[in-house]
């Protein structure tokens, strides 16, 4: 029982990380039809800069971590918005080329990060409490899982509130639903593109800082590893659906943990098989709109 509980909560923690990356991907794809390969790069740069600032101010304290998270979110948002503004916008409505530009950006940025911070992972310090475990029903659960779950829940709540309660959120939701209709009503959807990128980038930036807590290190390849799983999550959940992404992140991560434990470390394979199965049975994903 305690093993199952441990696996579930660890899975939830990993799922939280997936969700932070996948939420932005899903929103961006839903609204703009852009498959953003540079999302991993947003995450990595945020993780690095968050770590740089955090260690200069106070290494391994809550204030340091909070500051890292804030810096990470801001950096992620700025980099993402700049990407949209300078690169994606020029290729409006040419989806394949937009995806290609983000591919180039991710290749170039990973190489640049390797040049600046080296190829080896850099180990990070974190507050003492996060290195300890809490016992729930006999299961010893690392405390950082709770932090991840709480942050992802906050982000999910925040984005849902923003989408439901604000005017911009309304435009974004309508744009995901039917973009040409929104344009026909005289609303410039393109303005909200930058916004969606910034939101996705901020979520990914927070994800980057939290990933460095979860893994205990930052490296230039932090983003690319998470990005593949985030893609899988996004597709399983249904492109463009935020709730779908949330449900799929949890499903995928928990499935991965269980497969890793009970099926001899085959978590990655099981996830891939799950993706193929979902796409073949239900090509639009769990909560995706009909194509």
């Amino acid at each position: 029982m305690s093993t199952v509980l441990l696996l579930v909560i660890t899975g939830l923690g990993l799922g939280a990380l997936y969700f932070l990356v996948a939420s932005g991907l899903s929103l961006i794809y839903g609204l703009m039809g852009v498959l953003n390969f540079a999302h991993g790069a947003f995450l990595t740069i945020a993780a690095f800069l968050g770590w740089e600032v955090g260690r200069r101010v106070s290494d391994g304290t809550w204030w340091g971590l909070l500051l890292s998270a804030l810096v990470g979110m801001i950096v992620g948002a700025i980099v993402a918005a700049a990407t949209e503004y300078f690169l994606i916008r020029r290729l409006y409505e040419r989806h394949i080329e937009q995806a290609l530009v983000t591919v180039g950006l991710s290749l170039a940025s990973v190489a640049l990060f390797e040049g600046i911070w080296g190829t080896d992972p850099i180990y990070t310090a974190k507050p003492d409490w996060l290195t300890q475990t809490t016992e729930i029903l006999g299961a010893k659960i690392p405390n950082d899982r709770f932090l991840l779950i709480a942050c992802a829940a906050l982000v999910l709540g925040g984005i849902v509130l923003f989408l439901r309660r604000t005017r911009y959120g309304l435009i974004i939701r309508a744009g995901v639903e039917n973009r040409s209709m929104v344009t026909a009503l005289g609303i410039d959807v393109r303005r909200s593109f930058t916004l969606v990128f910034a939101i996705g980038g901020a979520a990914a930036g927070l994800g980057g800082v939290l990933a460095s807590v979860y893994y205990g290190y930052v490296s230039a390849h932090l983003g690319s590893v998470l990005l593949i799983f985030a893609f899988i999550v996004t597709v399983i959940g249904g492109l463009g659906s935020l709730t779908g992404a949330a449900i799929a992140s949890v499903l995928v991560a928990v499935l991965q943990q269980f497969a890793n434990f009970y099926l001899g470390g085959t978590g990655d394979l099981v996830v891939v098989i799950a993706l193929a199965a979902v796409l073949l049975v239900r090509p639009r994903g769990l909560m995706g709109k009909v194509a």
């Binding site: 080329e97 394979l269 193929a276």
Partner: protein
């Protein structure tokens, strides 16, 4: 599948270069269009001949090649570039001709490389003459590649667009994970698989025989090119092209696009496996890197860099990319770079950073790729010469 060659010259030139405007071409009259394929044919043969006698010459291109063309190092680099070009050509057939954006093409390249490597090891204890073992290994690998392509293709082609890309990515990822996991010590895990040379013909082993490997690579490239040309000009190729542009219309005409796409998928994947076998022999080993999604992205970059709308664009892209990658790595280690201030030194010492930036610039400002430059100069058009990408997305 009916694979008849279309022998009417104007139609075949039109499809071969995928010229954007057939009107000016048609105006030029019959004589120009019948003379052009002949000139192209002679030019092509001449190019292959020049490439074939390159190992016998001592041509030095400072800055581009690491040494004179007869040295093993240069031949190795050129052979590698040609194999990558062959791989890019097979990918272009899938992405450029049929509009299938696959993120799993590396899987088949790796299947060729690892398949041949493992088959050679598996057959090694058998009491056959070593030539027979070598041939049998190649046949087994080919069959394996075709079966794998048929399996992945039949599943992935049930969905279209981004979902297709994702299913192929998933399969490639599964393959990559399997290779890294090293089941039964068969793939060598992160270390990679080294070639068991016991049953490889002596002519293909050793530094001194690099020129034979070079000719092998050239042969593979020419073979892949001819197959791609044949498929592209066959009826199946025309249907694939039509499907890329407008699948609904093809269906209305009573043709089933699925079978054609399936065929193209299998042929392109098998060609990739053949290039992979060449890679194994050339590098005398296979690294797990060639199965990753990053490697597929590199091929995509190569195809786009060269020009999606042009068959020889993939070749140019493959060769330019490989040479750039190699020379930029050499540049990164040079004293000139080490002497620069950090702001310039760090980005310039990362070849992938320069290539990635170059790629972004090409996508933004040169949509026809390198092969599209002559067309742009001739027509003076600022727009995209081939709007093939949009259909792939729909």
């Amino acid at each position: 599948m009916n694979q008849q060659l279309t022998d009417s010259a104007p139609a075949s030139t039109g499809s071969a270069t995928e010229a954007p405007a057939p009107a000016p071409d048609g105006k030029a009259g019959g004589e120009a269009s019948t003379r052009r394929p002949l000139a192209l044919l002679i030019g092509g043969i001449a190019l292959v001949v020049v490439l074939a006698i390159l190992p016998l010459l001592a041509i030095e291109i400072p800055g581009v090649l690491p040494g004179p063309t007869y040295t093993p190092g240069t031949l190795q680099l050129l052979a590698y570039a040609m194999l990558i070009a062959a791989l890019a050509l097979s990918y272009r057939m899938m992405f450029g001709l049929a509009g299938l954006l696959s993120f799993g093409h590396a899987l088949f390249f790796a299947a060729g490389a690892y398949g041949l490597g493992m088959a050679l090891e598996y057959f090694a204890p058998v009491e056959w003459p070593s030539e027979l073992i070598f041939l049998a290994s190649i046949v087994v690998t080919l069959v394996f590649g075709i079966v794998l392509a048929a399996t992945v293709g039949s599943l992935a082609l049930r969905v279209t667009g981004i979902s297709f890309a994702m299913v192929t990515l998933a399969f490639a990822q599964a393959g990559s994970v399997l290779i890294r996991r090293n089941p039964g010590g068969a793939t060598g895990g992160d270390e990679g698989l080294s070639l068991d040379i016991a049953n490889v013909p002596d002519a293909l082993v050793g530094v001194l025989n690099t020129r034979n490997l070079y000719w092998l690579a050239l042969g593979i490239l020419v073979f892949v090119y001819l197959v791609v040309l044949w498929v592209e000009r066959s009826r199946a190729g025309h249907v694939a092209e039509a499907t890329r542009e407008n699948e609904l219309r093809v269906r209305v005409l009573g043709i089933r696009p699925y079978r054609v796409k399936f065929l193209i998928f299998i042929v392109a994947s098998t060609l990739a496996a053949i290039a992979g076998m060449g890679y194994l022999l050339l590098q005398s080993g296979a690294a797990p890197r060639i199965a990753t999604a990053d490697f597929t992205l590199t091929i995509l970059v190569i195809v786009v860099l060269g020009g999606v709308g042009y068959r020889w664009g993939a070749i140019v892209g493959g060769i330019v990319y490989t040479l750039l990658d190699q020379r930029l790595t050499a540049l990164a280690g040079s004293d000139f770079i080490a002497g620069l201030p950090a702001v310039l030194r760090v980005p310039l010492s990362e070849p992938l950073f320069i290539l990635g930036t170059l790629f972004i610039l090409v996508v933004l400002f040169l949509p026809g790729g390198i092969a599209g430059i002559p067309q742009r100069i001739r027509t003076g058009r600022k727009q995209h010469p081939v709007e093939s990408e949009e259909a792939a997305d729909a």
